[in-house]
């Protein structure tokens, strides 16, 4: 199966990446090159195999619902490109 440039554009939109035409060309080539190697996995019989998401079995971890130390709001916004009154500022998202 081969990825078209249109599919690459669609994936880039899903990934929220604005790509130049040159990057789209290059990535289409690279992705197709790499996808060929993924085909090898299709040879594996995994009919009876459970998927592994973590190598070490971990169970849900519970704790008492009590307030612990947490980051002060002013520290939390200290790295923001734009912040005001302990809030993150972003471009307008609703029409006035």
């Amino acid at each position: 199966m081969k990825l078209s440039k249109e599919e690459v554009e669609h994936v880039a939109l899903l990934a929220r990446l604005e790509l130049s035409d040159e990057e789209k060309e290059r990535l289409t080539g690279h992705l197709n090159q790499i996808m060929v190697h993924f085909e090898k996995l299709q040879q594996l019989d995994t009919e009876q195999v459970e998927p592994t998401s973590h190598s070490i079995p971990v169970e849900n971890v519970y704790r008492e619902d009590v307030v612990g130390p947490c980051l002060p709001a002013e520290d939390a916004v200290s790295n923001a490109p734009e912040a005001r009154d302990d809030y993150f500022v972003v471009p307008r998202v609703v029409e006035m």
Partner: protein
């Protein structure tokens, strides 16, 4: 004698005997950084003033006769993908060029707690994606053994800093070989602990089910000391495991009598240089002469490890890296008329080519219609890889292979050949998929460059691989060789 060339345990003994001060040791390391850093380029940030303050604090505590741990007053370098409170943490990415974390990673905090002295943050492939540091958005680190070659990656800055005596030891992170492969290329010891042994809190996430923090050191005793300091359950990382932490130093005995070694032949194929394979096999013969026993085994599933990893790691990365949106930290594009454009341009300007490529692969593998064929299939293949190791460890105590199929390659040699670059991780990747621990140490030299031997162990059995590595090291002198800089 140059203090910066010594190991942590040698310095500990001198500090305890009050023969030297932490200030003297720290100054020796900072002087070395000034002398060689323009050639090695291991550090993104050097924290000289803070280091001298921490050294003074350590000296004062020791002068008061307070109990000092084995790493008290010892200079350490931290890979720049671990959060350090008040100190720039970039992941060698433009998108985090100005990020100053408001908290410490747990591993960093634990080292500070025992009095270790951080001297700086080391270079890496952007977001730990790569095998050479050539994917750093800032600069490429040079291998101290041959400045025209790469130090390996992604923890190339940490490995080069230790090899060049610009740090006594370092922390790295390992998702597919990022501690062990640079340790091998730079001739130092590197350990990837069992997944869950060390807290990942404050480690900037790449592939959360594979990432693990570990030490890069000048010898195996130091590896044990550092692991002792950072291992254990952390309430802030729900995937860290609540299991007793053994006394790793007490377990270091120069004795491999009766040790059963498995030699997986698949890890000696796939482009492994004959000189590397023969050096590692010679190392195994040597362990046999000391009382161990070995047998060749076959693990055919390992041929599928590379495609499995290159589906799972980018899938997790595409999800983890969704957080870089130009809102809460890091870069925001100046061209941000609306939110979607802000997101898309920030990420375009902030991420380098390799990171974009992996985000694209991951997004594709997770997208509607392809999930079962790619991501789920890879997760099932992962189960088979883990089962193969479980089976092998029913018969053997450890497995041994080369760490990397080649010695350090030239800077620029592989940048246009992504597949060749990824083959650099062929021997290390399966270990992350299985979640087991593995250590790399030098077992020979080829054309003046170090060769790494990888010793793999059962989950949470770091003690046995440390003992095997220690025994090899105590009976050889490869670890005593230093690069000429």
């Amino acid at each position: 004698m140059d203090l910066n060339t010594l190991t942590a345990h040698e310095l500990r003994d001198m500090l305890k005997a009050r023969e030297v001060s932490s200030r003297e040791v720290t100054l020796a390391v900072l002087d070395r950084i000034s002398a060689v850093e323009d050639r090695v380029r291991a550090y993104v940030t050097v924290t000289g003033d803070q280091a001298l303050e921490a050294a003074q604090a350590a000296d004062e505590r020791m002068a008061r006769g307070e109990e000092a741990g084995p790493l008290a007053g010892i200079p350490v370098a931290i890979k720049d993908n671990m959060c350090t409170k008040g100190v720039l943490t970039t992941c060698s990415s433009r998108i985090l060029y100005n990020f100053v974390p408001p908290y410490d990673a747990t591993a960093v905090e634990l080292l500070a707690k025992v009095g270790a002295v951080m001297v700086g943050k080391t270079n890496l492939d952007e977001f730990a994606m790569g095998s050479s540091t050539e994917n750093s958005a800032f600069f490429t680190t040079h291998n101290p053994w041959d400045l025209t070659r790469v130090p390996g990656g992604s923890s190339g800055g940490s490995a080069a800093a230790v090899a060049a005596d610009e740090a006594v030891f370092a922390l790295g992170s390992d998702t597919g070989g990022s501690i062990r492969q640079p340790a091998s290329f730079c001739g130092v010891v590197g350990l990837k602990p069992t997944y869950g042994r060390v807290s990942r809190y404050g480690l900037v996430a790449f592939a959360s089910s594979l990432d693990q923090i570990g030490p890069l050191t000048k010898d195996v005793m130091d590896t044990a000391l550092v692991l002792q300091a950072i291992a254990g359950k952390d309430p802030l990382d729900s995937t860290s495991i609540d299991m007793p932490v053994p006394d790793y130093v007490a377990g270091l005995k120069s004795d491999v009598r009766g040790l059963k070694i498995g030699v997986p032949k698949e890890l000696y194929a796939q482009g492994v240089q004959p000189e590397i394979a023969s050096a590692v096999l010679k190392g195994i013969e040597f362990l046999k002469s000391l009382g161990a026993d070995y047998k060749e085994i076959s693990m055919p599933i390992l041929e599928y490890a590379l495609p499995t990893y290159y589906l799972l790691a980018p899938s997790e990365a595409s999800s983890n890296l969704a957080r870089y949106d130009g809102v809460r930290y890091g870069l925001r594009s100046r061209h941000s008329p609306d939110v979607i454009t802000m997101l898309m341009r920030t990420r375009d300007e902030g991420f380098g080519a390799e990171v974009k490529q992996r985000i694209m692969i991951g997004t594709y593998a997770l997208s509607a219609g392809y999930y079962d064929a790619y991501y789920l299939k890879a997760q099932k293949a992962r189960t088979l890889v883990r089962q193969a190791y479980d089976d092998a460890f029913k018969e053997f105590d450890v497995l041994i292979s080369p760490t990397s199929p080649t010695v350090a390659f030239g800077i620029g040699e592989r940048v246009d050949d992504p597949l060749q670059m990824k083959l650099a991780d062929v021997c290390t990747i399966p270990i992350n998929l299985a979640g087991i621990p593995a250590i790399s140490l030098t077992c020979g030299f080829h054309e003046g460059l170090p060769i790494g031997m990888q010793i793999m162990g059962k989950p949470f059995d770091e003690e046995t691989i440390l003992r095997a590595a220690y025994t090899f090291e105590q009976n050889t002198d490869y670890h005593k060789r230093k690069p000429m800089l």
